[in-house]
């Protein structure tokens, strides 16, 4: 057996094998592309069978047999073109022109003599080669746009088509130049085998090859998604997953719907504002958009609707090569997206349903089963990313809960400490006086007076703590304070509090500065006194080395209206920059004092609550080591504050109220 014959038989075996595999596939999933592939290789197989019969019969073979074989060969480029037309656009005139060429070739083969004149042979070969090369170019172009497995398969098919053109060209040249026929026939055999191998790899790649082709894309995807769980915003995570999935599959667009169990919807966030805009426009005017709801910048899909919703509801991968046929209700949506095919697969971690990944393509993919596998792997990875993120969030929430509990424990310990000190004073005084009385029958008036002053101030201290605890309890239940507002003078109140503190502290000089004779507003005097107390006590407590504490009271007018302004400035430890945004948070204590200076961590939080419920603001300026200035603004005309839903009765006295703009 000559070499070229051996090559031919090998090539034939490959073609027949591909036909058998393609036939099995089209019976399993009859898509247009699968039909075209089966038809192409079926025709090839028929050519091979007929050629074999011809070879066996030799000179006895009927002339029509050879004509039929020739016509079938001439049909191959046309069938290949039909396949190309399923996944990419070809010039509108090309298919009819190719069909006409096929018809003319058949006529020439059937009606012409058995030995066709050379110009006719050259014409036939030229038609075959030109059309096949066009197909080769179409496959190669598609390969350039594709990614991953699809890209490699497209490249193989383009290569196979190129070799097929070479195969026929060599056969034609062998007929035209009989002198060098043996060399041309060898080339013919080589090209035939090469096209068989390339087609085999492209159209029916073995699983191991597919996996090894998939690996680089998967690695890229894994490398890109590894850091995703740590992104602060879930929307960024979704956007990145979508972009990487689209890149890995080689499609222009992908969507990712997150399953919101409490609402029973899949939530999608379009990648760009423009995309969302166009979706809202097209869907908003269409009455048949069942199962889709728009909100501000997302749209919610009920499971069971659209390809994505169905894939999620059925928990299996779904492929639609024609979304307009499969999802006619949402045609406007797909039109806006500019897609024709969709591949959706559920994102599921164990039994936990997380969402759905959908990859869109402008046209039906030729190698859908490869994309299908890849998208499933990507969805699994997306599930891992989303699960990791959920676990990270849970861990953070648990940590925050533990921290709050720890702070609550500290608060309770601290409040107990703060109550026990004045209690010790009262008990100590009572017992001392009792002993004195027992021994001497009387207590001298001066000692008695001092003791009573101490007992009185200690009980006052305890009473204030108890009031704070009660306010704190309301606050724990998220209920607003019941303010008791009445007309009061802030200057007089501040002077009273300042005088009391000035007398109590030997190391500090507490000074009140004001140009106002009075600053009168309608506020809850007891609560405002507590605000001033808390600020002043902090100023003294956190300037342990003494120094001036300056308290100012004034008025201010701005676009928000007329304000009473009270500020407390100390020259103490100050607040570290990192703690500054949190000083008004419940239980938060700055890093430079926590554990060193006793405190409950609610004084400032309570101050803010009281001030804000009055419709005012409290702010702080501080530099660590340079002291702090707290500024409270209270509205001079009563108003209701937005954060408290129920300011309580009596906040706004009837009749005499002017509402600030």
């Amino acid at each position: 057996m000559s070499l070229d014959l051996a090559l031919q038989y090998l090539a034939w075996a490959l073609y027949v094998a591909i036909f058998v595999l393609a036939l099995a596939r089209v019976l399993r999933t009859p898509t247009p592309a699968h039909w075209d592939i089966a038809a192409f290789f079926g025709t090839s197989a028929a050519v091979i069978v007929l050629s074999t019969v011809e070879g066996v019969l030799g000179g006895q073979a009927a002339a029509w047999l050879s004509d039929l074989t020739g016509a079938l060969i001439m049909a191959l480029p046309y069938l290949l073109l039909r396949l190309v037309a399923t996944f990419t656009s070809v010039p509108r005139w090309l298919l009819p022109a190719a069909a006409a060429g096929l018809l003319l070739s058949t006529v020439a083969l059937v009606l012409g003599p058995s030995d066709l004149p050379t110009p006719v042979v050259l014409l036939l070969v030229a038609y075959f080669v030109a059309l096949t090369l066009f197909n080769t170019w179409a496959f190669a172009r598609e390969a350039a746009h594709a990614a991953g497995v699809t890209q490699r398969r497209m490249q193989a098919v383009a290569l196979g088509s190129g070799f097929l053109a070479g195969d026929i060209l060599a056969a034609g040249l062998a007929a035209v130049f009989p002198a060098s026929a043996s060399a041309w026939l060898l080339l013919n055999g080589l090209c035939g085998l090469a096209s068989g191998v390339a087609y085999y790899v492209g159209f029916t790649p073995p699983a191991w090859l597919r996996r090894s082709w998939q690996a680089p894309e998967l690695h890229t995807f894994l490398a890109r998604t590894a850091r995703l769980p740590y992104l602060p915003d879930i929307r960024d995570v979704v956007a990145e997953l979508k972009a990487h999935a689209a890149a890995a599959v080689g499609t222009p667009a992908a969507g990712l719907g997150l399953w919101l169990e409490d609402r029973g919807v899949l939530r999608f966030a379009p990648s760009t504002a423009e995309a969302h805009e166009s979706l809202v426009r097209t869907l908003g005017s269409s009455p048949e958009t069942k199962g889709v709801r728009f909100t501000m910048d997302v749209f919610d899909l009920e499971p069971g609707h659209m390809i994505a919703g169905r894939a999620f509801a059925e928990q299996r991968t779904l492929l639609s090569t024609d979304v307009f046929r499969d999802d006619p209700d949402y045609a406007a949506f797909y039109q806006a997206l500019g897609v024709h095919a969709a591949l959706a697969t559920p994102i599921t971690s164990g039994s936990r349903r997380l969402g759905v990944l959908v990859v869109y393509a402008p046209r039906a993919p030729l190698f859908a089963e490869s994309d299908l596998q890849l998208v499933q792997v990507l969805a699994d990875q997306a599930a891992t990313v989303l699960e990791s993120r959920r676990l990270l969030e849970e861990a953070a929430a648990a940590h925050a809960r533990a921290e709050t509990n720890r702070l609550k424990d500290e608060f309770l310990a601290s409040i107990s400490h703060d109550l026990r000190n004045p209690l010790a004073a009262v008990r100590g005084m009572a017992q001392v006086l009792q002993r004195h009385l027992e021994r001497h029958g009387a207590v001298d008036a001066e000692r008695l007076g001092t003791a009573l002053v101490h007992i009185d101030s200690s009980t006052m201290q305890m009473m204030r703590l108890i009031d704070q605890l009660l306010d704190y309890a309301r606050w724990q239940m998220d209920r607003p304070l019941e303010l008791q507002p009445r007309a009061m003078d802030l200057v007089a109140l501040t002077r009273r509090v300042v005088d009391a503190h000035a007398a109590a502290s030997e190391r500090h000089r507490v000074v009140l500065q004001t140009d106002e004779a009075d600053v009168t507003g309608v506020w809850d005097e007891e609560r405002i006194e507590r605000v001033i107390q808390n600020l002043l006590r902090n100023a003294l407590k956190y300037s342990p080395n003494g120094g001036d504490v300056l308290v100012r009271v004034g008025r201010k007018h701005d676009e928000g209206g007329d304000w009473a302004v009270l500020s407390v400035q100390d020259h103490g430890l100050g607040i570290p920059a990192a703690d500054l945004p949190h000083v008004f948070e419940r239980f938060h204590r700055a890093g430079n004092v926590a554990g060193r200076i006793a405190g409950t961590g609610i004084g400032l939080a309570a101050a803010r609550q009281i001030v804000e419920q009055h419709g005012g603001t409290v702010a702080v300026e501080s530099l660590e080591g340079n002291g702090s200035t707290f500024v409270v603004r209270l509205p001079l005309a009563p108003r209701q504050s937005p954060p408290s839903p129920d300011p309580g009765p009596g906040l706004v006295p009837g009749g005499e109220v002017r509402h600030a703009a």
């Binding site: 310990a413 400490h417 017992q431 004195h436 000692r447 001092t450 101490h454 080395n545 060193r596």
Partner: protein, 130 residues
């Protein structure tokens, strides 16, 4: 502090507490029992008094301004008065562990009973004497 308390030959007790009424009550009770009494409202003053007057017993509150009870006790133990008996007095829940940390021979939790306080002070004096 009462300067005349220093001149007399009676046991001197230093009372350290930043709560003035508490300080006053302890001072009266000790004076009634015949002790000499010094008082301090913060940690620095406390250390100064110990250095200058060598009291027989120190009644020490833990939460103090400037130097807290731990810093006061460390300063005393390491430099000034290694063997001065310290009676810890605190309103905290972990009074015992805090007392151990300042090396106190005994502790009381606020609010306390005066007889308990006086008995504890006497134990401290005996410890020093024996």
């Amino acid at each position: 502090m009462l300067p005349e308390a220093l001149s007399e030959k009676r046991p001197l007790v230093l009372v350290v507490d930043d709560n003035r009424p508490v300080r006053q009550a302890i001072q009266w009770a000790l004076e009634e029992e015949g002790f000499g009494v010094l008082t301090a409202g913060d940690g620095e003053e406390a250390v100064r008094h110990v250095v200058e007057h060598q009291p027989a017993v120190v009644i020490l509150d833990i939460n103090l301004p400037l130097l807290d009870g731990y810093e006061v006790s460390r300063a005393l133990r390491e430099r000034y008065a290694q063997d001065v008996p310290i009676l810890a007095v605190t309103a905290d829940g972990q009074a015992h562990s805090k007392a151990v940390r300042v090396g106190a021979y005994d502790y009381l939790r606020k609010p306390f009973d005066l007889p308990d306080l006086l008995a504890a002070v006497r134990r401290g004096l005996q410890q020093r004497g024996g």
